[in-house]
């Protein structure tokens, strides 16, 4: 459990938050630049001292201004990955990795090094690394400090498309293979769609909303904040089977319905999240046997709200999960959609979220 209840004033900029998030999984701080997300990360790391408030991680109090507690950054056991890699230029990669003097060799060291694909870089100087390599080393360095939580401050910013995707894939591997709570700061909806489980939306130093990402995405009133998320739904599913002939993977949703995706490199039984963009979801009143759209899910209309002029945002319930669809006003009236109706969601495309 991570609690941050802080009041801080810095050059005419006020931060006033009260955040409680589970101390596990990936929690994202999302907001535009100047929303105070980096300030919060620095206070959690102990690099800045809040004027007033408390910071508690899993029953360890880092800051409590009321009781005069301030644990200095080097005693907090938090791994921080900064926006710039911040490698020490006078040490080789290996010495950078072992700087924290916790894991310095052995199986644990090898595992993290190979997880990040930096085996070949160990004897290089940081100056000879590319941007993506340097950041991977920075992540490794933070992990090898055996932190209680990993803080990542916009770790993908400034990388070009391909490098960014590559590093994102490494980070996703990490979240799957290492059981470590992560606080991920970003202003990029694409990144957050891929990694975040819990989302804290910040604006001008205040918390706008804090909940599970799927929940926030399905909330109509969050559109002004999460518009950049391209109005998508996230569905949790389990890998059911692989079909190598059709090059496809079958997923099973919580309510027993099935989804087919292009072949995924994930073991059967593993749980993952898929992303469905709102505009890729059409609605029909009955299942379409003579259609090329193969993903057809039975769902119940839970809400209909007006969207942009001439459009409707329809929220569909799929068991416990929810799926958004955008249809035209005309289509909505022609189908006679009403909350509580059972319909068929035609999903034209679905992709893996992370």
């Amino acid at each position: 459990m991570l609690e941050m209840c802080l009041k801080h004033r810095q050059g005419g900029f006020d931060v006033d938050v009260d955040i409680t998030t589970p101390g596990s999984g990936v929690t994202a701080l999302f907001g535009h630049s100047g929303s105070g997300k980096t300030t919060l990360l620095r206070m959690l790391a102990g690099l800045d001292r809040p004027d007033q408030g408390r910071v508690v991680l899993n029953e360890r109090t880092f800051v409590d201004t009321g009781r005069g507690i301030f644990i200095p950054p080097h005693q907090r056991r938090l791994g921080v990955v900064f926006q710039e890699a911040r490698l020490f230029p006078h040490y080789r990669v290996r010495s950078n990795l072992t700087y924290a003097r916790r894991i310095t060799r052995g199986e644990a060291f090898d595992r993290i090094v190979s997880l990040l694909g930096i085996e070949a870089l160990l004897d290089r100087m940081p100056g000879a690394l590319s941007g993506g390599e340097a950041r991977r080393v920075a992540i490794g360095r933070a992990l090898l400090a055996e932190p209680d939580m990993l803080l990542m401050d916009e770790p993908l910013t400034g990388l070009d498309g391909a490098r960014k995707q590559e590093l994102l894939d490494y980070i996703l591997r990490l979240t799957r293979e290492i059981d470590l709570p992560i606080l991920f700061v970003s202003h990029d909806p694409e990144e957050l769609m891929a990694v975040a489980e819990q989302l804290v939306v910040l604006d001008q130093g205040h918390v706008v909303a804090s909940d599970r990402l799927e929940t926030l995405l399905s909330r109509g009133d969050m559109t002004p904040w999460l518009g950049g998320f391209e109005a998508s739904s996230l569905l949790k599913a389990q890998v059911c089977s692989h079909d190598h002939h059709y090059h496809a993977t079958q997923l099973i949703l919580g309510d027993g319905q099935r989804l087919t995706l292009p072949l995924l490199d994930r073991p059967e039984g593993s749980v993952l999240r898929v992303r469905v963009r709102r505009r890729e979801v059409a609605i029909a009143l009955s299942s379409q046997r003579d259609s090329s759209v193969r993903n057809q899910l039975e769902a119940v209309v839970s809400a209909i709200t007006p969207g942009a002029p001439g459009t409707l945002e329809v929220t569909l319930a799929l068991g416990e999960q929810s799926l958004s669809s955008r249809i035209t006003l005309e289509a909505g009236e022609a189908l006679g959609l009403k909350p509580g109706m059972t319909v068929i969601a035609l999903i034209r495309s679905v992709s893996l979220a992370g």
Partner: protein
């Protein structure tokens, strides 16, 4: 090749300047760090005092040293009474005079390179569990080494060329405090010794050149080790 007199002057010069550097190295780094990384009341005043030897006539520094460190001086009398140490008219006194004259040069160079060390690297080291002390010795100081080398060579060269404060405080005693500049001065004062004076002049130039080239080589070597630095931080 060298006359015994020249060898003696050279030996005293190197010994005095080397000792001067040793005396001021740690206080110089500490002072540079204080001025580079801290804000406190009276900082400008302290900064001014550190730089004083740079602008004061060396004779004044030598005179002040006599007043403070002399046998009857404030500090000098204590040193003599408790440790039996007397600095005026000794080579150690000459080293002290040279060190004080060189101090501002060392502090300036080290301070500049400390200010150039990216505080974000220090913050990163702190999050990796390093105490302030460990950060200083593993990050800050090593990254400031090029400036430290430059400062040390400048200070050494300044001590080597020290004349006014030395002759005032430590006098011009052959075999004890007669460094290269003092020996040269004595030769110039002696009629018929023009050739010997010219030889000493050449020796001084060579020693100065060697130390400059050595510093350049050292600085380049440390820079090359960190070639390119961390692209992510620039």
């Amino acid at each position: 090749m060298l006359t015994p007199l020249e060898i003696e002057a050279l030996r005293i010069s190197l010994q005095v300047s080397g000792t001067a550097l040793l005396i001021i190295l740690v206080p110089g780094i500490a002072m540079a760090w204080l001025l580079a990384r801290h804000e406190f009341f009276g900082k400008s005043l302290l900064d001014g005092i550190v730089h004083l030897p740079l602008v004061l006539p060396p004779v004044v520094v030598g005179y002040l040293l006599l007043v403070v460190m002399g046998r009857r001086g404030l500090v000098g009398s204590w040193l003599f009474d408790h440790l039996g140490l007397s600095l005026p008219f000794t080579w150690q006194g000459a080293a002290l005079a040279g060190g004080i004259m060189a101090f501002p040069l060392l502090v300036r160079a080290v301070r500049l390179s400390l200010e150039a060390v990216d505080p974000r690297l220090e913050a990163a080291a702190r999050t990796l569990g390093a105490s302030r002390l460990r950060v200083f010795f593993t990050i800050t100081l090593p990254l400031a080494v090029p400036g430290l080398v430059t400062g040390a060579v400048l200070a050494f060269a300044r001590a080597l060329s020290e004349f006014g404060a030395t002759i005032t405080f430590a006098s011009n005693i052959p075999g004890e405090t007669r460094t290269l500049p003092l020996a040269l001065y004595s030769l110039i004062q002696t009629p018929g010794m023009e050739d010997a004076a010219a030889r000493l002049c050449v020796i001084s130039v060579v020693v100065a050149m060697v130390s400059l080239v050595a510093s350049e080589w050292l600085a380049r070597r440390t820079r090359r080790r960190m070639a390119g630095r961390d692209r992510g931080t620039t």
